[in-house]
Subunit: 168 residues, 3 copies
C-alpha cells in the first residue's frame, strides 16, 4: 500500500461526483489504449506528469521507481511514438476493465485509486490475463478537465520486459 | 473501432445520468443471462432490434455481419427458445463483468459502448475467460425504459462455433 | 438464483443514489482485503451479521449453508485473527473486481447484489482467476454508514478447502 491511500475524505456528495468523473476519465483513457490510439495517450497527462509502472513488491517496500518511468509529457510522447513506430511485437488486442474507484482527496491535486485488469488476446488465440494491478493517480484540473499529474501503476502479476512495452 | 465511436458528447451532467442508467440496464440484462433466464433476454430489445456478434478483426475491416445475426425481436425469441429447449451442451455457469461504459450521443437514438468480460465455469471446474469484448449499443426509450435498438458485440477472443450459442 | 433477487424496486433516483453508495462500500471493503488489512474486515459488518460462502450449486438447491459460515462480529474477528496469525499458506496477492451492482429493496434492510471476480497472484507468478461469484447482501445503516447485516457469497468456481480460508 502506498502512503496516504487509506484516508477517508469528508464530503460524500462531492466525493461521489468526483468519483463518477474519474470513472469517465478511465473509460476515455482506456478506450484510447484499447483501440490502439497510442498517439492520444500523452494527452491524458499534464505537461509535468510522472508516469510509473512498478511491481507491487517494490511499491510495498517503498521503492516506487519501477521498470517504466517517464517524466513530462514529451517523454510520454516519445514513448508512444516509439511503440507505434517499431511494431516489434506480435499484434495483439488489449482490453482494460477498471473497477473499485476510490477518491482519497477532494482538494487539488485530487488523489484516487482504482483496480485494473488488463486482458490480452494474441491473434487467433484465447484471451488471457495480462496484468492485474492498481492505479494510484493524482489529477489536476486543466481548463475544466481532469488530467493525470501522476499515475503510478502497481501490478501484482509477474511481468517480463516485453510485457511492459505497452502503456497501462 | 466502429465509425462514430470516438465522439465526445457535449453536456457532462446529462451524459453522466445517462451513463448511470445504462449501467443499470447492463446489470439487469446480464443478470437475466447469468441466472439462465433466457426467456427474458428478448425483452431488453425493441421490436425491430438488430443483434450481432462479430469478431474484432471483421469489425475493424468494416465487415460488421458476424457469426450471430438476429433481426427483430421474434428472431431473438426463437433463438432464446431454441437454446433453452435443446440443452445440447454441457451445463455451465456464466458471469458477465461490465465496465468502462461510455455514452457517445445524448440525442436519441442513444449510442454507447462498454467493455464486457464473460466468465465461464463448467460444472466442477475452474472459471475461465470465455469471451472479452465490447458492446456497441444503440438505445431507444420506450415507455420511459431504455431498450436496445441495436447491440453489436465485438469480441477479441478467438471463438469456436459452440461458444457462440449463448447470447452475450 | 436466491429467492427475491429478481424484484424491481420503485424509485429509480433513490435506487441510483443507493447503488452508488453501495459501490463505494464495495470499493472500501475490497481495498481492506486486497491490501491485507484483515483486522479491518469485521468492521464492515453489523454486530449480529451473518457471513456465508456457498457454492452456486448449493445455493440454487436452496441449501444456503456453505463451507464458510460465521454468525456475529465476534466470530468474524476470530476468523480474521486466525488467518492473520497463522500464515499457513504461501504468500499471495488478491485483487477484487466488482461490477453489475443491483439494488433490490430501498427500504431497510437494503438488499443488493453484485458480481465479483477475485484475482490471485502467487509470488513471482501469473495472475489467475481465483473465484468468480455474486454477493447477495443485506445492509443496515448504522450511524449513517452502510454495514453488512448479511453477506452471502455464492461462487461459481470449483474451490478446494484451502481456497476458502481468505474472506471474500
Amino acid at each position: 500500500m502506498l502512503a496516504g491511500y487509506d484516508m477517508t475524505p469528508p464530503d460524500p456528495r462531492a466525493v461521489r461526483e468526483l468519483r463518477l468523473e474519474i470513472e469517465e476519465f478511465h473509460a476515455a483513457y482506456c478506450w484510447a489504449l484499447d483501440r490502439g490510439a497510442l498517439e492520444e495517450w500523452p494527452d491524458f497527462f499534464t505537461e509535468d506528469a510522472l508516469y510509473r509502472v512498478t511491481a507491487r513488491e517494490n511499491a510495498d517496500s517503498g521503492l516506487p521507481v519501477g521498470l517504466v518511468y517517464a517524466e513530462g509529457k514529451a517523454m510520454l510522447r516519445d514513448r508512444a511514438f516509439a511503440i507505434a513506430k517499431t511494431q516489434m511485437f506480435a499484434p495483439r488486442y488489449l482490453q482494460h476493465m477498471v473497477s473499485n474507484v476510490r477518491v482519497l482527496t477532494l482538494a487539488e491535486p485530487v488523489r484516487a485509486q482504482a483496480n485494473y485488469l488488463l486482458l490480452q488476446t494474441l491473434m487467433e488465440g484465447p484471451t488471457t490475463i495480462h496484468q492485474a494491478g492498481r492505479y494510484y493517480d493524482t489529477f489536476s484540473r486543466v481548463d475544466g478537465r481532469l488530467l493525470l499529474k501522476e499515475r503510478q501503476c502497481v501490478y501484482d502479476t509477474l511481468l517480463i520486459a516485453n510485457d511492459l512495452v505497452y502503456p497501462v
